[in-house]
């Protein structure tokens, strides 16, 4: 992430667009899209990305308001500033889309991802895996004499780091949810 020049919050306190739209730098943005929870709405969003050649790094979706039939899609995407603006405009014109928020530019935000890791092994490796899990505040949600399943939440980079450490210790399977994100503060 550090090699990507992300200017977080660049436009949040200014009346002007401060980023150069013609810049060729690739930025990573987290978008929150509130949609009607109806059949096919996820296909519309995904179809937009594939049809227009945009990237999806991560995507999560779940209903957030049962009575109001609303779902929230959190999508992490990359592109030049002009492409990011275009993605937001294109999302905004899908009929069942109610709101599009760019959490990367609209001010500080929190991001979390949950992952499950299956680590198989015995002896020292097993002890080391348990010790590292403790450092990362990962929980053991399943254990046998030959394996653990760890549950970990955090920013994606933390989960990447945990995966790197587990790999030599017998990491055999990974499941990740993708990023969920909210803006900080009361609004």
């Amino acid at each position: 992430m550090s090699e990507l020049k992300i200017k977080k919050g660049a436009t949040s306190h200014s009346a002007y667009e401060l980023r150069n739209p013609n810049a060729n730098v690739i930025e990573k943005h987290t978008l929150a899209v509130v949609v009607d929870n109806e059949a096919g709405v996820l296909a519309r969003v995904i179809g937009l990305f594939s049809g227009r050649g945009y990237n999806i790094e991560s995507l999560t979706v779940a209903e957030i308001d049962h009575t109001g039939h609303r779902s929230r899609i959190t999508v992490v995407t990359t592109g030049t500033p002009a492409v990011i603006e275009q993605i937001k405009a294109q999302l905004g014109r899908i009929v069942p889309v109610h709101e599009v928020h760019d959490l990367t530019t609209e001010g500080p935000s929190v991001e979390r991802e949950l992952a499950l890791f299956k680590v198989s092994g015995t002896g020292d490796k097993r002890v080391e895996a348990l010790r590292l899990a403790d450092i990362f505040r990962a929980n053991v949600v399943d254990s046998t004499l030959h394996s653990f399943v760890f549950e970990i939440t955090g920013v994606p980079e933390k989960i990447d780091a945990f995966a790197e450490l587990m790999r030599p210790l017998g990491l055999s399977e990974v499941a990740r949810t993708g990023v969920a994100a909210l803006s900080r503060g009361k609004d």
């Binding site: 096919g40 296909a43 002009a82 405009a89 905004g92 109610h98």
Partner: protein, 584 residues
């Protein structure tokens, strides 16, 4: 008061409540209950086409010539897939359509039933929105929403997929006024600060130009009126895309003609040399801009568009204004007048002198012939002999389409129906049928090429069945003329597959359908033949045999900027850069 009725009855009721008078369609198993209801009433006129693609293009012609949404009714499976080209065409040209498709019963969906296709999945990327209705109680509500979405904001095609059991079942009818449309309400008024910034730029500009597009026409007649008022008041020159022709009259004194790849010399040079470009309802299409990094390098650019995704999509602009053209033009005029109707008079005078010099180049000049009919001459004569009529023009796609745009004049909006964005060969003939349905007494002419025309020629049956006096003016060069021209310029004169072999005898073809056929190949006979076409009360196929290897100019080759235009036959044989070849 709640009303109970079957889904099929609900559909017809909802169409009536939406003011629909004409439906273009084709029956089949999955829409039989709806056709039963159509049989039992007389308010809605159903036009039976010969192929579902024809139904959609006819509805486009109807919609574009009236400003009302076009309505299509087709069956499931092949009925729906045949509609896909028309839907995509309407999406790219922002034409409001409501397409109703039948579907296999809900309990059979997913079983690969007879004539089952995933219509919603197939049409999702080629509609503005689509709906699968699984409950009869939702049906009328969805149809009312469909009309709202198709016609609000940037117009476009929508599709409602209706399983057969939903058509048979009883449900409660929702009135039009009760339909939930609150969440889809695109913004109409532009930002006043941005509009004021544009007015400020207009007051100072030395070399301004209006660049207008189909959005002016889609905004309605008021937008064209306001545009004319603004152009007359400011005395700024104005050019337009293919889709916007007629919004400003071709006889207007500030008219530069169409711009773009085959646009006029003066229009393209004005775009290249301007210091203020005011884009009104156009979208910086690649046929317009040419090479992007050399597009109008010295200008400040304003862009008025109702669709936020059009802004900064291709060209970064300095003054973006999101809103409806009529609303924004009204505010521009009001603010400009209240600030004292200022323009940069001396700058403007020099600019107009410059434009006069460009016009003197006479870029539409061509070498006349007394032996063969030049296609340009054919259109000039057609223009001369029909311009006094209540005339609507449709076109197919290719050289003839561009010649029609260059040599025919459009004095009012909604008078030219053509496939601009998708470039659909086979559009013009069914579109002319839709136009004639909407305007029974008008002179409707489809300017065609013989290759395009054959793509939907089955609709001759529709034209004769409904006694629609559409005139098929076919510029027959026995070539795919545009393809042949590109092959000449780009592909070493290797004319791969661009001949029209085994052409039908168009006169006999017309007669086989009970219509009139006219053949003309001598320039001396042309006027009489055109008059014969106009005066015949019924559909006519006019086989106008023209010069076979005429090229279309002016032309901006792919990968070139606006100020590098080819004019006339002097350019023939001049190669194109290989990096431009991919941009064809």
């Amino acid at each position: 008061m709640t009303r109970q009725m079957t889904g099929a009855k609900m559909i017809v009721q909802a169409l009536k409540d939406q003011g629909v008078d004409t439906v273009f369609g084709y029956p089949g198993g999955a829409v039989l209950p709806i056709y039963d209801e159509i049989f039992l009433q007389n308010d809605i006129h159903h036009i039976l086409v010969r192929h579902e693609q024809g139904a959609v293009h006819a509805a486009e012609g109807y919609a574009r010539s009236t400003g009302k949404p076009g309505v299509v009714l087709v069956t499931s499976g092949p009925g729906a897939t045949n509609a896909v080209t028309g839907l995509t065409d309407a999406l790219l040209d922002s034409i409001p359509l409501v397409v109703l498709t039948g579907q296999v019963p809900t309990f059979m969906i997913g079983t690969d039933g007879f004539q089952e296709a995933d219509t919603i999945g197939i049409t999702r990327p080629c509609t503005k929105h689509n709906w699968l209705v699984k409950d009869t109680d939702d049906l009328s509500q969805v149809i009312h929403q469909a009309f709202h979405v198709a016609t609000s904001g940037r117009p476009g095609p929508v599709l409602v997929d209706i399983p057969k059991d939903v058509q048979f079942a009883n449900g409660t009818y929702s009135e039009k006024k009760d339909a939930k449309t609150s969440h889809y309400q695109p913004r109409l008024k532009g930002d006043i600060d941005a509009i004021t910034a544009l007015v400020d730029a207009m007051e100072k500009a030395e070399r301004p130009v209006f660049y207008t597009g189909g959005g002016v026409i889609n905004s309605g007649p008021a937008a064209s009126q306001l545009l004319r008022e603004l152009v007359d008041a400011t005395d700024f020159p104005i050019t337009s895309t293919l889709m916007g022709l007629g919004a400003y009259p071709a006889s207007g004194k500030n008219w530069l003609g169409m711009l773009g790849m085959h646009g006029l010399y003066e229009a393209n040079l004005a775009m290249h040399g301007c210091d203020l470009m005011i884009n009104i309802g156009a979208r910086f299409d690649d046929r317009i801009t040419g090479r992007l990094d050399a597009f109008s390098p010295g200008s400040a650019k304003a862009h008025i568009d109702i669709d936020p995704s059009s802004i900064n999509k291709v060209i970064q602009v300095d003054i973006p204004i999101i809103g409806d053209v009529a609303h924004v033009l009204e505010d521009i005029l009001r603010i400009w007048k209240s600030r004292g109707r200022k323009v940069n008079k001396s700058g403007l005078k020099n600019w107009q002198n410059q434009i006069t010099q460009w016009k003197a180049v006479n870029c539409l000049d061509y070498a006349p012939s007394t032996k063969a009919i030049k296609p340009q001459y054919a259109l000039q004569r057609l223009e001369e002999l029909t311009k006094g009529h209540d005339r609507y023009i449709t076109t197919e796609v290719g050289q003839h389409q561009m010649w029609a745009a260059q040599y025919l004049t459009f004095e009012a909006p909604n008078r030219l129906m053509t496939s601009g964005g998708l470039g659909t060969m086979g559009y013009g003939f069914p579109a002319s049928i839709g136009v004639q349905m909407a305007h029974p007494d008008a002179l409707v002419i489809n300017v065609a090429g013989e290759a395009s025309w054959q793509m939907n020629m089955q609709e001759m049956g529709t034209a004769t069945q409904y006694r629609l006096p559409v005139k098929q003016f076919i510029l027959n060069n026995e070539r795919l003329g545009m393809v042949r021209q590109w092959q000449q310029l780009l592909h070493g004169e290797r004319y791969s597959q661009s001949w029209s072999e085994s052409l039908p005898d168009f006169v006999k073809l017309a007669e086989a359908f009970g219509a009139k056929g006219i053949l003309c190949s001598d320039p001396a006979d042309l006027d009489d033949a055109i008059m014969e076409m106009i005066n015949h009360d019924g559909p006519v196929i006019f086989d106008c045999v023209v010069e076979k290897h005429e090229n279309l100019y002016p032309m901006i080759l792919s990968g070139k900027p606006h100020n590098e235009m080819l004019l006339g036959d002097a350019a023939d044989g001049d190669g194109i850069q290989s990096d431009g070849a991919v941009l064809v």
